[in-house]
């Protein structure tokens, strides 16, 4: 009987052995890249909404304060989505005939939550009522907006450059490692405008200062520039030192920030 395998088969065998070592890693890497990619996390992907609401138009061009709509952001865990009534406080006067605002008017007239108008827009199983949720942390994460605002953290820190978004997207993927970036090193993120003009500002107002300066066309600090453009910012050693001082001032117990039960319970 002749040889079953030609000498070239050795190469196949070698390649197989090699790939047995490599392939799992490739698969693992591919898997984790895919799960972390925007196609899965929807980071930076604008999502369809029943009404194409533009934060850029309302918050930046018109200069409406975030808290006009997200009323509870300073006071409770949730920032909250505005009721139809809030939209109608202006839109009963302006753009009263805009076809884009039809779902808002219908909601107000019929006293039912906002409905999607075009059934084709809605893929099956997602429901016809309400806005598409853009930012979501898992159910076992108990995030509290109010305390973060009370420590002077600007909205854009987590939500990306919201004032530039025509259709809203998720600024961050909200992976736990990303949360821990700040919870481990809060001094890198706590920030106050060095301008003495703002020294009496409460931390809570400090959180919204960049938007105010943007509206008033005042000069922005590099940190504020980065925040408002959605870029990552590397604080200088002096800024980190100032962050340390802020930790003292606010009484933040840094060690405690990474306790599991701070966020999960």
């Amino acid at each position: 009987m002749g040889q079953l395998f030609k000498p070239g088969a050795n190469n196949i065998a070698r390649a197989s052995v090699l790939s047995m070592g490599i392939l799992p890693w490739v698969a693992f890497y591919a898997g984790s890249t895919i799960t972390r990619s925007p196609s899965n996390t929807k980071q930076d992907v604008p999502l369809n909404q029943p009404v194409p609401f533009s934060h850029r138009h309302h918050a930046y061009e018109l200069g409406i304060d975030c808290r006009y709509c997200h009323v509870s952001v300073e006071r409770t865990a949730l920032a909250s989505i505005p009721p139809t009534e809030t939209c109608m406080s202006c839109h009963s006067q302006i753009w009263t005939n805009s076809p884009l605002l039809e779902p808002i008017r219908r909601s107000y007239e019929t006293n039912t939550p906002i409905q999607w108008s075009d059934a084709d827009q809605v893929e099956s199983g997602k429901g016809m009522t309400g806005w598409t949720k853009v930012n979501k942390v898992p159910e076992f994460v108990y995030f509290n907006h109010s305390i973060h605002i009370a420590r002077g953290l600007n909205c854009d820190q987590c939500h990306g450059p919201v004032q530039q978004m025509t259709i809203t997207w998720k600024g961050q993927a909200f992976a736990m490692a990303w949360c821990l970036d700040c919870h481990r090193n809060p001094e890198k993120f706590l920030y106050r405008d060095p301008d003495p003009k703002y020294k009496d500002l409460s931390a809570q107002d400090e959180a919204f200062l960049p938007f105010y300066k943007l509206q008033e066309h005042l000069a922005l600090t590099p940190k504020q520039e980065a925040l408002l453009s959605g870029e990552t910012y590397d604080p200088s050693p002096e800024e980190v030192q100032k962050g340390q001082d802020l930790l003292q001032l606010y009484g933040v117990k840094k060690a405690q920030l990474t306790d599991c039960w701070i966020c999960h319970r």
């Binding site: 898997g31 799960t35 196609s39 899965n40 996390t41 929807k42 999502l47 009323v71 509870s72 006071r75 409770t76 865990a77 949730l78 909250s80 989505i81 505005p82 009721p83 139809t84 009534e85 809030t86 909601s107 107000y108 006293n111 039912t112 939550p113 906002i114 893929e123 997602k126 429901g127 009522t129 309400g130 806005w131 598409t132 949720k133 979501k136 898992p138 159910e139 076992f140 108990y142 509290n144 109010s146 305390i147 009370a150 606010y250 009484g251 117990k253 060690a255 405690q256 306790d259 599991c260 039960w261 701070i262 999960h264 319970r265």
Partner: protein, 1042 residues
Amino acid sequence: MDKNEKQINTETMREKFANVSGERYWRGLEELVDTAEFQSWMEDEFPQRASIPDVDRRTFLKLAGASLALAGLAGCRSLPEERIVPYVKAPEDSLPGQELTYASTMPFDGYGFGVLVSSNEHRPTKIEGNDRHPASLGSTDIFSQAEILNMYDPDRSGNPLQMLPGQVPLMGTWEEALAEITNTLGTLSNGAGIRLLTETVTSPTLYAQIQAFLAKYKQAKWYQYQAISRDNQKKGSVAAFGRIVDTRYDLSNAVVILALDSDILGCTPETVRYIRDFMARRGPDLPFPQINRLYSVESTFSKTGAFADHRFALKHSDIPGFTQYLASALGVAAAGPGRLPEGVKADWVAALVRDLVSHKGSALITVGETQPPEVHALAHAMNEALGAVGKTVNYLEPIEPHPVIHNDELTQLTAEMAGHQVDALFILGGNPAYSAPPDVPFATELQRLTAAKKLTVRHGIYNDETSALCQWHLPDSHFLEAWGDLRSYDGTTSIVQPLILPLFDTRSAIEVISQLVGKPQNGLDMVRKQWSSLKDQPWRDCLEKGFIDGTASKPAAVTAKVSSLPSTPASGADAIEAVFAPDSTVWDGRYSNNGWLQELPKALTRMSWDNPVIIGPKLAVQLDVIYEDNVELTANGATVIAPVYVLPGMPDNTVTLTLGYGRTTAGKVGDGTGFNFNPLRKSSSPWVTTVEIKKAGSKTDLALSQTHHSMDGRDIVREGTHSEYLSHQSLEPREAMGEDESAILYNLTKEWQADNPDIQQWGMTIDLNTCTGCSACEIACQAENNIPTVGKEQVQRGRIMHWIRVDRYFRVEDAGEERDFKEPIAQYESINPSNDTGAMDPNNVKVVSMPVPCMHCEEAPCEPVCPVAATIHSHEGLNQMVYNRCVGTRYCSNNCPYKVRRFNFFNFQFRQKQFQSERDITLLNLMNNPDVSVRSRGVMEKCSYCVQRINEARITAKKENRKIKDMEVIPACAQACPSKAIVFGDISDPTTAVSKLKAQKRNYGLLEDLNTRPRTSYLAKVRNPNPEISNAAANARGAKRG
């Protein structure tokens, strides 16, 4: 493990009892007898693991591979897109994510109990006590905690139903039903033949509506009946005062209290207040005339008896004689000499009498509902002789607007039904078809009435046994869904304020009656009209407070006169008496379908899902039965077969039967649980009957939780007497508790203080001295922390989920040794064979209740064994459990010496056997606390010290730039506790309440010698026995021994 193997037989029990006499604690007879089977059950961390199918290696690998592949695949899906639905018009007073609290009033037994109800996004989620309400003072009982589950109960009836005998009821509308009902009413001239049957009515608005109804239908009659009534109290009041007045005790003034078959610390609408007042005088640092002393003479084993400093177990029929003897000793002239029942020592009574007399003005005698009216009348006379009236006992003008004797009412109504005088019957609330004693054939007559095409209408929360026999069932609203008012135990009128629109198409009783009267109004209008004197602002103030000031009942000026006493016949010494009692968790059956209450282990038996026949060890040996053996009970022509539970401390020849079980149409949870003992009752004597009892030969599985999570007889419970405690006052705390720090191997320096100087360190104390074992903490924790129920079968497997359990330890009286307070009592395990009384003597049994939550050990044994670091320490000293890390190895639970960790063997939250439809699951989900994760299958869970409340308080404090104040964080268990036995706070700050308690010499840690350094510590129990009696007893024992 095979069920039968586990059993212990009577022979071993008898042998063991003979040997047990030295002082030691045991949790149940199985432990006391300590069979090999019990040992193996206890040593097995997760008993009955054998239920996991036995598979060979190949199959196991196949399954494991498949599940790994599937588990991996489950992760490969993109995040689902979700909708977020805002309001159209936001309500003015609330923000999303903000919890709101409203005052309301819970009806219980016809009386109101002031509660504060939390609402999350406008769904009620938690009930707490109203701290301003006189009945609550901020605490709750198990029923008010569990009411929230009743509201979301998927089995509640949601539509008017036209009942068709033997068929599925026809769903109707309110319009149809009311049209038909009013048509029929119109045909009855002047309302002849109309009968209205309600439960106890205290609500002024409901009473006004009933009056309007009776005014419109002139010949209509109104009856009141409820299974757990106060008939004997009322009759006793008539016998003593010539009219009905309400008796209320003021335990804050009482020093020497004698409870005659009276469960004042047990469960009635006034209990929460009674416990609070009683415990206010229980601080062991108070000298005697300030600290109180409780005597109990009772015919069952109640929570009051278990708490008493002196308890004497007597047959029910012996208590009147005892009372008479006592009365003559106290100088109540008309009482006659009386007869001291056999077994009661005259010097015991003499010491009691001396104690009572020497505290004139602060002595009190209370009588329970089960005792005949004569005993109540005698007690009124004795209280008067002791100068108690106006001090420890108050007589109030009746709180019910129309007080009646319930059994007479039902008897009369049934007679009228039988006499063809009834053409239309309205039953509002209650469940008389289930609860009526068999000599009042209410159910039969109701069925006959319906069959004769007479109008029979039932209005109730559930479509139950009574509804099934009616023509129409109309669904009632829950108290959180409808307006109303109720009077509480002292008469204070409290407003029932709804928090949510009715979940189903239901209407409240006042709304239904207003329809029948022909002037339909909504509930709010009726209540406002009733209290029209309260204009806008005063009304709003009342709503905020929850009650109307100045509405408490006026004191009644009455003088007790005891003219003649009908001699109460004592049953023969060998006759066995059955004493009926409301069940401590499902009451008269109204909570049968409440899974939380069904699963809550009952105070003294630690039994859930059942109501076995409770008998004493002596009777058990006599009948040759043991736990789970069925017995056949025959009384008044009826026979019931039920299993026994052997409870030490039961009086001889007495069985206790609790009501409320054995329901046939309670709902998916309550159906088929327990046994219905109502057929053994008699309307003339509803609380006691003589029974014939014999072994039935069969067995019934019971779900006993007391042997779960056992700590194997180690040093657990510590107690001493008041005089011992005071005499050691000068000693250092730890030394006083028998603990010598040098004897411990480990270094006890408190590292956490050095590590985290500014961070609060949480700790808890639990005062064994004031814990009555009421279990309110267990239910409060369940409601707060979304703890699932697991069902009877899983409880039997030891998988009960409560994060805080209440252990109950029995102790037989000290064998005569000189006992030093320095020694932990549980170390007394000496066996003294010459003393043959042991646990067989009911009067020898003492009880300690001990709530056990997670200890949050500083050196937690659970932490190092977790392979995935799912349980680790926080900087605040909390032992954190991280569900999303847990892979379910259960090593932690294995290593926990306190056995406080609970494992989700199944997806208990969403895969309840009974509730699997999407509607049911959604309904039950609405009830969940949004601040606590809902755990899924395969993860461990345990007490978190209510970390959600800590976090909430921390965030609030940080926003206000301050530290968390003392008592700002109150865990659910501490908030509910009527005795305020649980105190929580920062132990690094010596000024907090909890630090001060931990500095007391009574403070000790559970199994502290293991160097776990528990953050939860206990305060030893300090009993306050009468020295005269305890010395005499010690001498007697000494003489016997010598």
